[in-house]
Amino acid sequence: MRKKHHPADDFVVAKDESNPYSSPNRADPFAASLYDSLHHLNEMVPDEPPELNQFTRLVRDTKLQERRKMHRDLALFGGVATTILAGWLLGLFMDPAMFMDFMLIISIISIAATPIGVYVRHRHRGETSV
């Protein structure tokens, strides 16, 4: 199938795969001017990147921070989960009848909420698909 032509395609810049920077379309003075204007800004960037050891340090520090964050999140999750489970167990042993009633109510609410949730999501999808 022939690709649909778009007016923006008229402005052609040849892509050179071996070079991250494309070559300008010199046949069009505007294209060349746009390319040169953008290239002008490149001259303001230093020729050399920071020392390699700065990147090594950045990699090490970022990974260390990630690991710390993961440990913090795990500890938080563990704490919340333990509190909830402890509450359940306490309720179960202190007043089993009340605990069973509570669980029954929770189950009914969950079952009732499912079709409502599906309906709301379906309605929302219907609105956004237009």
Partner: protein
């Protein structure tokens, strides 16, 4: 070690290989961000953020799907667009001209002149400017750009077309 080997090693957790890759592409990302932001401090900050995001997400990089440079440009583009969205309200009072004044001064001092076309570029909406730089300086396809900015291909084409029309008008007026 060639680039692919470096990438595989970096994905397996080799910190030195990842550092070498980022060292190699740092200026490439900085130059791109300077072109889209036209503001040196923002470009430098976003380049640093791009490096950090790349470190965090290196395990998710798929070397079969895109080049490493394209992956970094995608991260940088999304960070820039998010940054602009966040800062929109805070900097509504700051004109585009005011934000580029310092760089303009630096360029004029270093190179003697500031291309007038860059003033027109600064006046374009951020997504249009980004798409034009990606298409007409880096040579990415519309499909690649649409993927980077998370917009339909037709929208990207339309923005590039209108942006170029505006720039061409300004360029003729010069």
């Amino acid at each position: 070690m060639n680039e692919l080997q470096e990438i595989i090693a970096a994905k397996r957790g080799d910190n030195d290989a990842l550092a070498r890759l980022l060292h190699q592409y740092y200026l490439f990302v900085l130059k791109y961000l300077l072109q889209v932001t036209v503001h040196r401090p923002t470009a430098e900050d976003l380049t640093q953020d791009t490096m950090i995001r790349a470190i965090e997400k290196i395990a998710l990089y798929d070397e079969q799907r895109s080049k490493f440079s394209t992956w970094l440009i995608t991260i940088a583009t999304r960070l820039y667009l998010d940054y602009k969205r966040r800062r929109q309200r805070e900097t509504a009072w700051l004109s585009a001209e005011a934000s580029t004044r310092h760089l303009k001064w630096e360029v004029e001092n270093a190179q003697g002149s500031w291309p007038e076309l860059l003033d027109a570029m600064v006046g374009l909406p951020k997504q249009t400017r980004t798409a034009i730089v990606l298409k007409h300086y880096y040579g990415y396809t519309y499909e690649e750009i649409a993927d980077m900015v998370k917009l339909p291909v037709g929208t990207v084409k339309s923005r590039v077309h209108h942006g170029l029309a505006t720039l061409r008008k300004e360029w003729r007026a010069e």
